[in-house]
Symmetry: C2
Subunit: 435 residues, 2 copies
């Protein structure tokens, strides 16, 4: 007896006559003395499978919700407009133990412990199907724009400049770190003349944050390119990229997202508003304290303002003061109106949450050394940073810049999920490094 | 004065009249009293740029090999069949310090230290352009076959079962590990009903190996899918995948590879030979010692035999004895001719080097527990492995299997490179975690 051809639930109506196999797991069972009806779900949908054959009934005796099955049979008209499978034989019967590891109302920690089971929920699976579609759209767009994919290392000798938020690990008698960002490696590709690169992969933050927007490991898109003129070029690219991604997601998964998540994906037509930091503070500050960055509250208030006044879910905040931006950020020409020195930098907010930080990098060697010295002190320059980063700028490094997007966070906002625990395939936080 | 439109070296001949900008770095300078000629390289090729304008000559005074430049001018017929740029103004002049960090004959360690400079070699850049093309081809093929991309975590609580070759790191008062393989997470996706998944990203091996084929961190493709019937299905998929990748690479980069590396990419037509392990040993063993795995010498000898006798650069070695395969490997039905119990497993060799290990996984709960107990002992089952891996098989987990391909190694063989140091963007080995 040969293997029957598999047919997915979604494609079953199109099956010609002849035997096909339906493979997935049981979501519902109805038994009467002389018949059985199973609902079987696979990664594409559900199908009703029925039989009155005593051999089939016997073989399906152990079938309970979440049992795995492979059922061979004929596709027949079903009740209503659909089709159903008239089961002829049971190819696999993989029973589920009792009790199941999770119930509908299981605690969040249990859901993470039994993630393989938690993810059987079609809504949760859809998150990762759409995550994959988002990634494909990103890669397609960037390739079209002449970017190549690189794979920066995740173990690094640097990173300890910035202090506490770095995971360290013993490395053959020395101490290495896990990257918080692959920016320096993307810049190395630029210094080598790669021109336009991106990297999608894990980054690590040893931060003891328990907010819904933080994880100790997450998937980050990093984009870096050479020969740009200012941070405007970065924002133009990112805007076009996000527009493309939302269009692709709406085309491919718009209906499913509306059905499962009650949300419409709205690709935007209007340009994303650009608001300089100094103006943003005027718009949202609830006190007169001078400040050099936005709080989470500021970000929410600004997005609310932009949504109400300008009708946009996204907003670029630009020209942050140098005080709170890293040393490699290029300073703006001249000073800001408030006397703070401004930078060629930006954040992108979506629905009140920051999803990007980016800037033009300082590539002029002398200025970069000055800024590094002022920020980190002379000692830092003699060490790793000097040899493996700053030195690169002595050899004709072109003007360049880049930005990162946390993809788990992007998906959280895209699909209206309450936290990264839903959009990380296997979440990592300060209290969680299993399974 | 507005920004001139950039034109890459490759596309320069197609430039219409009007000013364009050539941006890259200088590879050669010729100066006479009243004229200058620079060769400028960008990521697409080289172009000769000339001027007799005294202002341009003055601005290009600091230009030496490896200086960055952006030159605006008119495209004119050059010597021979090419074109050259008649420089009108110097938009950027980014001098290279003297001396340069590397010379033509620099030691390997220096080349890794100054990787940003080492990679300016067009041959080395080509490796990563082709790496990106390989990745795009892999993703395209797998998406067409219904696979989605997942991002498994790289920090894990498991992995210590297998002993010494795992990096450990302090994790908020506990000890976590870096993944050696994301297989268990890919299987978790299968257990959750994701059906077909792949993951491309870093994996980590704390092995003190200094061979040309080993690294402590490398980029791995992992493929896992459900509802297969035996390891034959895995090999069929991998063969089709590699055929597709080689075809794409030959189409897009075949000429360039021939020119730079003196190699022809030969997409194969004939099926990859499958040779059972027991037969492979008969073919290549130089002694009668019983053995359960192939040595590096065996692998080279077998590839040599297959190339000579069967005319193929690839060979699948199948049905390895259970003794040396991990506990999760599905046993074959019946026993092998030599009395060793065989498994539904395979390796893929390419030009004498293993690039893949794969198998059908044991999904039948009782057998899997038995195999785990026999291999790892009862204690291992009570710990991480039992709760977060074995337990999954109690709930209707479908038949499935998978394989991994080390992509740095794949590129090494594809482009005839002497070691992974050439095909890892930034190499990591036991003596190397910088830059």
């Amino acid at each position: 007896m040969g293997q029957a051809e598999r047919r997915c639930a979604r494609d079953l109506a199109a099956a010609p006559g002849g035997s096909v196999a339906v493979r997935g797991w049981v979501t519902a069972v109805q038994r009467k003395r002389d018949r059985v009806a199973l609902t079987v779900r696979d990664h594409t949908g559900e199908v009703r499978c029925v039989s009155q054959d005593p051999a089939v009934l016997a073989a399906l005796e152990p079938a309970t919700p979440h049992s795995g099955v492979s059922l061979v049979g004929e596709v027949r008209p079903g009740r209503g407009e659909g089709v159903q499978l008239e089961i002829e034989r049971v190819e696999s019967m993989l029973p589920a133990a009792d009790p199941l590891p999770l119930k509908g109302n299981s605690a969040a920690a249990d859901r993470l412990d039994y993630r393989y089971f938690d993810l059987r929920d079609p809504e949760r699976f859809a998150i990762f199907k759409i995550f994959s579609a988002v990634e494909t759209a990103i890669r397609g767009y960037l390739a079209e724009q002449g970017f190549i994919s690189i794979h920066a290392p995740r173990i690094t000798g640097g990173g300890s400049e910035s202090g506490a938020a770095v995971f360290q690990l013993p490395y053959f008698g020395e101490t290495a770190c896990l990257v918080q960002s692959i920016q320096f490696y993307a810049q190395m590709a630029i210094g080598a003349g790669f021109d336009r690169v991106f990297d999608i992969g894990p980054v690590f933050r040893a931060e003891n944050s328990l907010t819904n927007r933080h994880a100790t490991e997450f998937t980050c898109l990093h984009v870096e390119f050479a020969w740009m003129h200012s941070h405007e070029d970065l924002m133009a690219l990112e805007e076009a990229l996000i527009r493309h991604v939302l269009n692709e997601v709406a085309d491919q998964h718009g209906e499913e997202i509306e059905e499962l998540f009650g949300l419409r994906v709205n690709p935007f037509e209007a340009p994303i508003p650009r608001i300089p930091f100094a103006r943003a503070i005027e718009l949202v500050a609830d006190d007169d304290e001078p400040r050099a960055q936005l709080t989470a509250r500021d970000e929410r208030a600004l997005s609310k303002y932009v949504h109400a006044e300008l009708g946009h879910d996204f907003v670029f905040v630009t020209d942050f003061p140098a005080e709170e931006r890293p040393f490699y950020t290029m300073a703006a020409d001249g000073e800001g109106a408030d006397g703070l020195s401004e930078t060629r930098s930006f954040d992108l907010l979506w629905r009140g949450v920051e999803i990007t930080s980016g800037c033009q990098r300082e590539h002029r060697s002398e200025r970069l050394y000055d800024q590094a010295r002022a920020d980190l002190g002379d000692a830092a320059l003699d060490q790793y940073l000097g040899k493996y980063y700053l030195d690169m700028f002595n050899y004709g490094c072109p003007p360049h810049g880049g930005f990162g997007i946390g993809l788990d966070r992007f998906l959280m906002l895209l699909l209206g999920q309450p936290s990264l625990q839903e959009t990380s395939f296997v979440f990592r936080g300060p209290e969680r490094f299993t399974p």
